[in-house]
Amino acid sequence: MGGYRHTTYNRALEISTDICIGCSHCMKVCPTEALRVFGGKAGIHADWCIDCGECYRVCPTRAIGVMDDDFKEIFNYRHRVLLVPSVFFAQFDRTVPRQKIFDIIGELGFTEVCTVEQSVDTLVDEINSYIEDADKPVISSFCPAIVRLIQVRFPSLVDNIMKLLPPIEITAQFYKKRYEREGMDCSEFGIFYLTPCIGKIAAVKSPVGGYKSPITGVINMDFFFNKVYLAYRQKIEITKSIIVNDQLSSKGVLYPTTGGESINISGRSLAVDGMKNSIDFLEALENEEIKNLDFLEIRACDESCAGGILSHRNRFLTAESLREFASKVPKEHNLILDYKKYCSAVVHMDRIEPRSMVKYDRDIEVALKKMESARRLRELFPGIDCGACGAPSCEALAEDVVKGQADINSCIFLRTVYEKRGEISLDEAVKIMESIWGKDRFSKNSD
C-alpha cells in the first residue's frame, strides 16, 4: 500500500506516512520504545511492537491505521455472525434499547449475533482447575497486549502465562462447532469479531500458543459504533430479522472490567490494569519480589476493556454501564451446559514462545562491546529525554548510534557543544535537524 512504510510483526497497526506529521507523540508513549522519527515521519520497529495501541490513542492526526477487515467482507458469506463484546453495549447510554441495537446490527447485514462473554462461566471453571497444578503465579492470557509485552520484555515469565484460550476464542469455537454440527460448510458461514482493541486484531490474525483462530474477520468497534449509532439516530427502517444469542451471566458481563476475572479465581489473586502499572508489576514479579500469588489478572488499558483503544466512550462511564448491566442479568445462563459439553476439549493452547528484543547483536562478544560503547555515549548525552533526536530517550539514542542507525550529532545538546567549539557549521546543524524532522518544518514561519 502506497503511503505505508512500516507494518508491525503482526500487522495490526501501521503508520500512514501521508498523514503522519512527525509530532513524536507516539514515540514517547511506546512501552517497548519501538518508534522513532526520521525524515519527518514516525516509523515502527516491527519486531518490538506489541500492538497495544498506545500510539494510536495519542496520535493527533489519526495517522496510525488499524488493520481491521473491510466491513464488506461479511457479504462473502451466506451466514454472517457477529460476536459482540459486552463493552460494545456499554458504548451507548441507557436510553438506547438493547433490542434496537440488535435490530440495527441485522439491518447492517449480519444474520446472527452472539455475546462474546457467554463462554466465561465455563472458562472460569477451567481456570480454577488449571491453577491447581500450574506454576504460580498463573498470569491471565486474556489481554493480548500483555501477552505480547511479556513475550518481548519479560521472556522469563512466558511459562507463567495461562495456557487457556481467552473467552472470545472459546465462543468462536462454540459457534463454529455448532454450525458444523448443523451441517453447514465452512465456506457458508463467516464469524466476525467486533473488537474493542487493536491487540485482539493481532491475536486473531497471528495467535500465539500454536493455535489457529476460527474467526473469519475482525471489525473495528469504533467504526462499527458510529455505523450503528448513525442508523439509530436516523431511525432507519428495520426490514431484516436477526438471530440473537444474548445469553450472558453477571460473571460474563463483568469479566472485561478490572477485577472481573480475578474475583472468580480461588486462592490469592490480584488485578492490575494500565500499561505502566502492568510493567512495574511484571518487573517486580520477574525479580521474584512478589511471593505466594496464585493468579494475576493483568490488562494493558486503564479500566481494562472499558478503556480499550477502540472504545470511544469515557472509560469510567463505560465501566459503570457494565456494572449496571451486570446487576440486571442472572448469575447463570442457559448455554453454560452446552459450552461445557462442546468446549472443554478446545480451551487449551500450547506454550507461548518468548520474542526477545535483541538490542545489539546475537554474538555476545560483539553485543558486550556495543553495550559498553552505548553506556559511554549515554554519559555524553544530557539525560533529559527530550526526543529532539527522533529517539524516545537518551538511552535509546545511544543504542541507535552504536547500532549505526543514528548519528551522534542528532543530539541537540551535543551538537550545541560542537557548534560552540566551531566544529560544526550552522548549515550542517540545520541539515541534521531536517533529516530527522523533515525539511518543511524549517522553512515555514521563517518571516
Binding site: 521472556p155 521474584e288 546475537r362 555476545i364 553485543a367
Partner: protein, 137 residues
Amino acid sequence: MKFQYSVEGGDFTMAGHASSQVKKSLKQLGIDSSIIKRVVVALYEAEVNIVAHAYRGVIDVDIESAGIKLKLTDEGPGIPDIEKAMTKGFSTASAAVREMGFGAGMGLPNIRDNSDRFTIDTVVNKGTVLSIEIDFK
C-alpha cells in the same frame, strides 16, 4: 563490562535497584531467561541482605561473554556462625524486617543454589564479602 552500585543499610525502598539494572543489561545481551532468573534471584537476595543486616555495601558487577561475576562487599556485623546462616530456614532478621516480606531465612542457601561458584568471607564486627559467579552456558 563493569558496573558498581552502592547500597545503604536500612534503605529497603532502593533494595532491588542493582538487580533490576543488571537484569536489564542481561536481557539486552540476549542471555537465556532461565540464567537471568538465577542471577536476579541471587543478586536480589544478596542485595537485601546488605540492606537488612549491614551498614553499607558496594556491589561490583562484571559481565563477560562467559558469565557474570558479582562481588558484594559490606561493612557490617559479619556472620558469626556461617554454617548456621547457610541452613535453610535460619534467620536473624528482626520482626520489622520480616513484616516487610524480607528475612524469611532463605537468603544464603538460595544464593548458593543459584550460583555456579559461590564464596563467602566474613569477619565478625567488620563485614562480609560475597562472591557469586554464574555462567552463561
